[in-house]
Symmetry: C2
Subunit: 238 residues, 2 copies
DNA sequence: TTTATACTACTTGTATACAAGTATACTTAT
DNA sequence: ATAAGTATACTTGTATACAAGTAGTATAAA
């Protein structure tokens, strides 16, 4: 099972099941485990040096995220297609637009302050070329916005989406930090725009910012495809 | 553990874990198990005459639905508050509005036909005073709409929402069939309106229909509160 | 050569066992 | 009587065992 894709430090308090889920998710989304591969609980348990119980837990989680399909014999890897990425951003747009409508009716001072802090963190992360930390703060940025309206079921939708998003962003950012570091400036500007939109309650600017964000990711998506090709066959997993 | 709230026939092919999840969900949403109750895996296993494994699975599912909270010692029942019901309908509105925008750009003939069939089924269910069958078809109606656009992540959100909705509708319809049978006519009309809106691509009518649907549920919600009071203390669960 | 049967090696779902940790109650010392 | 420590009876998470079922292969019959 060798080297881990998911940051170990993010797993400090996690159970074995969580570790397996996070690592497996990364391997699937990165393409290290190819679509179509059939995963065996027993083999995974052996690979990760744990018993079947945490592996089962992990597979259930990944199935709920639709990156694997639980069938009668074995769990088949589905992975993320171009369509999936598009769909994820559909949902993000859907959620964040809804959230924005609520936000503009609230006192947004604390939220803006909190977001500014996260943005500063992102800047530092870039300065020190820490892709993982940058990704963490990027995800946190949007999570902070979403949670600010205190809506349990919207939060739930976010929670369901988050792990896949996080992994995807993590992989994208790692690659871009190596190859397209100037992109990060644009991402930062875009987040600053988002904060402004919230501050002023300017819906148009917010939508623009979200779309820009999506365009950025579209670009990432191409890079990610190439990454998939790169890693293809590195570890055929049986 | 005595009598079951969830229709046994819906569980024909379900695992023990699913059975526990469905039944537990019904008991929590109906108020038969009160908010604040701490559930023990061992006790539940004994109650349902299964081992801890399926119970654990069930609790994980219910936690992801936010009707229980998994804590260090025991799973505490959260249940559905008035706010939760409102939130669920927020999300439904969000999803179905998104779906509608896609639908109007498609060929809707097959969908309309399919929905008409489901609506006929609903009529028959009322005719024979079968609240469970009616609920099933009602949920199926909306699921059919949502799945018609073939959007994996929107379907995923629906899947996450569905179990709680289904239980809630089931309980509401059972009570209303006894006490307010004339309501069902209005529900049928409303669904017919929805089909028309899809057929003609009339967004306004669709929104109106959705809101009407929600108002119906608001009414249900009051009934449901009284039901909670009614069943309160029937089985104090320890 | 083709078809039917049985065997092997898997699979899943459930049950049970165990280690490690935590809250409650009960000492015991002050 | 009160504070500190210590049992104890729980809890969770993981490991392991087992029953039932399935796919594919090999063997036997036609």
């Amino acid at each position: 099972m060798s080297d881990l894709l998911y940051p170990i430090k993010w797993l400090s308090k996690a159970s074995a099941g969580d570790r397996v889920a996070h690592e497996l998710r990364m391997r699937i989304i990165s393409g290290k485990i190819e679509s179509g591969t059939v995963l065996s609980e027993n083999k995974l348990a052996a690979d990760f040096s744990v018993s079947r119980s945490p592996v089962r837990d992990a597979l259930k989680v990944l199935a709920s995220e639709r990156i694997i399909r639980l069938e009668r014999m074995g769990a088949v890897v589905v992975g993320l297609s171009k369509k999936d990425i598009q769909e994820i951003y559909d949902v993000r747009l859907l959620i964040e637009t809804f959230v924005f409508e609520r936000i503009v009716k609230m006192d947004r001072q604390d939220l803006v302050r909190e977001l500014s802090k996260v943005l500063e963190m992102m800047k530092i992360a870039i300065k020190y070329k820490d892709a993982d930390e940058f990704s963490y703060q990027d995800v946190l940025f949007h999570e902070t916005i979403i949670r600010s309206i205190d809506h349990g079921y919207v939060s739930m939708m976010w929670q369901n989406l988050k792990p896949v998003m996080e992994s995807f962003i993590l992989l994208s950012m790692r690659q871009r930090l190596d190859e397209d570091i100037e992109d990060f400036e644009r991402i930062l500007e875009n987040h600053a725009l988002y904060i402004e939109a919230i501050e002023t309650g300017d819906r148009k600017r917010m939508i623009a910012s979200l779309h820009q964000n999506f365009d950025d990711v579209q670009e990432v998506e191409d890079l990610w495809k190439s990454q998939q090709l790169m890693t293809k066959g590195v570890e055929p997993h049986d």
